[in-house]
């Protein structure tokens, strides 16, 4: 009798309890090994730490715990695709491939599988056209916004007139490095400055020819689209030829501590674009300290907090969490599917108030995603390296890029992709 009663009580307890919610799965295609590990580690740590914070402080998103699956790509496209294939079945909600090469491979795959892709500041720029790339998002800024932001900075420094000036683009000789060329060509025509192109072979350790050319031709500004060792080498060569650092501006992938520290004091004044905050002077960091760092739950060695690329990881995770919250609200369910996550991303709106509520005031620009525009308005700020203090300073507000030039290029490129792949433009 006692056994029967006990069994009945146990059964009642099981049946009466609220159903357990499945985890929300966020894969992290990280690269902690290989040639770009120094850049991959801080991003992966920031991405993981933010999700840990949400689990520890809030009990997950809307009460649903987050499960982060980290898969090592080594920044290798084949491994990245393998990671995708091996994790998509886990119920992965959104992929952030962290590599333009992996992104290009995943665009058709994620479209077929109905899983959204977020390529923040990299990947295929024309994916900003959500009518063609339903599943791909590249908010808040893309490579072409970056090119326009560099020219905007030149315009600001020259009272709006850069006619007769020269801009040299030092770029990684790859699909990524070549991304801004078309935009800069259009902008040079519009504003009357001369554009000089200087390609650098992978990996970019030897750039003597390019910098001798710059020394000879003395362009007024130098822009850089580099990655890895190419960045530090370029900044070192610029210092060697005594090029004025304040006229040397890199894209956001050429603007981390890893790029300037090897050059030492001579890197002082170097500028780089960014689309999020720098340092750790945000209320969010108090929460991270309490719930993650001091609790011994920090990812990796726990020594990356506040670096540019760590903050980028935090920012990417925060945008993913906000989109997931949106999806839960739109579909009135705690457990969301990848397709619902996509809807949440498409309805994402980041305002100053929301950023402040999240403990990240002015950490990122205000923007609104829509079906037509998966890239946002391309709001970008300029950072400058202070070598003595060993930190980046934000020297401009988030300012809009020249969408008059950028948008037609996005439309043209996405239309070509749609024609090639038989895609009919639509808003789902």
């Amino acid at each position: 009798m006692k056994l029967k009663t006990a069994t009945a009580v146990a059964l009642a307890a099981i049946l009466g309890a609220s159903p357990a919610l499945a985890d929300m799965v966020f894969p992290s295609l990280s690269y902690r090994t290989g040639p770009y590990a120094a850049n991959g580690i801080p991003f992966a740590d920031g991405y993981a730490d933010y999700f840990t914070l949400i689990n520890e402080r809030d009990g997950g998103i809307g009460g649903v715990p987050i499960r982060l699956i980290e898969c090592e790509t080594g920044y290798n496209t084949e491994k990245g695709v393998e990671c995708y294939e091996s994790t998509k079945g886990e119920g992965s909600l959104v992929y952030q491939p962290l590599s333009t090469g992996i992104t290009y491979q995943l665009i058709p795959k994620t479209a077929a599988d109905g899983i959204p892709l977020h390529t923040m500041g990299y990947g295929r720029t024309s994916a900003a056209n959500g009518k063609v790339f339903n599943n791909v998002f590249n908010y808040p800024a893309n490579y072409w916004n970056g090119a326009s932001a560099i020219v905007n900075h030149m315009l600001e420094e020259n009272d709006g007139d850069v006619k007769g000036k020269t801009l040299a683009l030092v770029y990684h000789n790859s699909a990524y490095g070549k991304e801004p060329i078309r935009t800069l060509e259009e902008l040079s025509e519009k504003h009357g400055f001369e554009l000089k192109l200087l390609a650098v072979d992978h990996p970019g350790q030897e750039q003597k020819s390019q910098w001798l050319t710059i020394r000879r031709e003395r362009p007024d500004y130098v822009a850089m689209y580099g990655w890895g060792v190419m960045n530090a080498t370029a900044i070192q060569e610029a210092a060697n030829i005594r090029y004025p650092m304040e006229n040397f501006i890199g894209i956001w992938w050429s603007g981390s501590e890893n790029d300037v520290r090897p050059v030492g004091a001579k890197a002082n004044g170097y500028k780089a674009l960014n689309f999020h905050g720098v340092g750790d002077d945000y209320p969010l960091y108090d929460d991270l300290k309490e719930h993650v760092y001091d609790a011994g739950k920090a990812a990796g060695a726990g020594d990356q907090a506040g670096t540019v690329l760590y903050n980028r990881g935090v920012y990417a995770a925060m945008l993913a969490v906000e989109a997931a919250k949106n999806a839960q609200a739109i579909h009135d369910t705690k457990e969301i599917t990848p397709q619902q996550m996509r809807d949440g991303m498409e309805a994402l709106e980041m305002t100053e108030e929301k950023m402040a509520e999240l403990g990240m005031p002015n950490f990122g620009p205000s923007f609104k995603v829509s079906c037509e525009n998966h890239g946002g308005p391309g709001l970008v700020s300029v950072n400058q390296w202070d070598a003595e203090a060993g930190k980046w300073n934000v020297i401009s507000d988030y300012s809009e890029s020249d969408m008059e030039v950028v948008q037609p290029l996005i439309d043209e490129d996405s239309a070509a992709y749609a024609a090639e792949n038989g895609i009919e433009e639509s808003c789902s």
Binding site: A38, N173, L212, A232, N240, R261, D303
Partner: protein, 332 residues
């Protein structure tokens, strides 16, 4: 003469300097190939490991600190001291000798009399092991290496030559680090040549290089010779790693400088120390002049790697043994 002419001369001189840097990497390959017939795929990673060790010792990093902290829950990263560069270099040389002994004991000893391709595969494995081991030991973050050699355009050269080509010419640009690298490379090659010509060990090295069996028959220990050769190659890797690391920081990509050495080896021959130097200079000057005269103006630039390998390919077709390599004729 016009400024353009002097700019061309400047590119030529910088090509020579770049060539010296390539030669430093190629030398390590030549030493090991010459003495043991092994194409050491791990030479680039050895340069990275040597540079990581140098900067780690210099700045007082705790080896394997991430592993120690993860296992024991500690927070140790630095010893709290800095070691003077000279002592750090000496300690690094010692570590590279220990590395050579371990390679001989754990890898090469077991592969005596195996086909060269087996030994080559073993060095590929060694390269991957060293990549991970180096990162585990010293961390994968980018490290700044300061060995006291100044960097940047040499002001004296610049001022002395300013105005040679009119007011558009600002004087020759020569990187002071490259000038130092040239002097170090000359000293290194001279020392290596003197060592191999005038010391007993050097003669034993040459004997092993000429004929393993004959050398063994007169009592030369092949295993000792291998340890010595790998130690010297480790030292050369340290010099190359320190020079390249001082330019752009000590980071994983340092291991990729081996890519720059391959065309140099094809050109100069895999068995000649002077060949590595001359090959490096030809590749350095050739690629820089091609980029200056043809690549950048007409082909969109970034032609240097392409040119270096094209030149090497041409040599392979017409002189497969390279400029100074040994011509091996095997008669059936």
């Amino acid at each position: 003469m016009s400024a353009s002419f002097f700019f061309g001369v400047e590119v030529f001189m910088n090509g020579l300097m770049a060539g010296v840097m390539y030669s430093l990497v190629a030398l390590g390959f030549v030493l090991i190939f010459k003495a043991s017939g092994i194409f050491n795929y791990a030479q680039g990673v050895m340069a990275l490991f040597a540079a990581q060790t140098l900067v780690g010792l210099q700045t007082g990093l705790v080896p394997f600190s991430h592993l120690i902290n993860a296992v024991f829950g500690t927070e140790v990263h630095h010893f709290g001291w800095n070691i003077p560069t000279v002592f750090a270099i000496l300690l690094t040389i010692l570590i590279m000798i220990v590395f050579a002994i371990l390679v001989e004991k754990l890898v090469l000893k077991h592969l005596v009399n195996q086909e060269p391709i087996i030994l080559f595969m073993a060095t590929i494995g060694l390269a991957y092991f060293m990549e991970g081991f180096g990162d585990l030991m010293w961390g994968s973050e980018i490290k700044t290496l300061d060995i006291g050699i100044p960097q940047g355009g040499n002001i004296w050269v610049e001022e002395a030559t300013a105005g040679l080509g009119g007011e558009d010419f600002f004087g020759f640009y020569l990187d002071t680090l490259d000038i130092y690298a040239t002097v170090i490379a000359i000293a290194l090659v001279t020392a290596l040549v003197l060592f191999s010509q005038y010391t007993k060990t050097g003669r034993a090295l040459r004997a092993v290089a000429d004929d393993h069996q004959a050398a063994l028959s007169v009592g030369i220990s092949l295993r000792t010779i291998w340890v010595i050769v790998w130690s010297i190659a480790g030292f050369v890797a340290l010099v190359a790693g320190a020079m390249w690391g001082a330019k752009s920081g000590v980071q994983f990509s340092l291991s990729l400088i081996a890519l720059k050495a391959l065309p140099v080896l094809m050109l100069g021959g895999f068995t000649s120390i002077p060949g590595a130097i001359v090959g490096g200079l030809i590749i350095g000057v050739g690629e820089k002049m091609f980029e200056f005269l043809i690549g950048a103006p007409f082909l969109g630039g970034a032609t240097e790697n392409w040119f270096a390998y094209m030149l090497a390919l041409l040599f392979l077709v017409f002189r497969p043994q390279g400029l100074f390599g040994e011509k091996i004729i095997e008669r059936v």
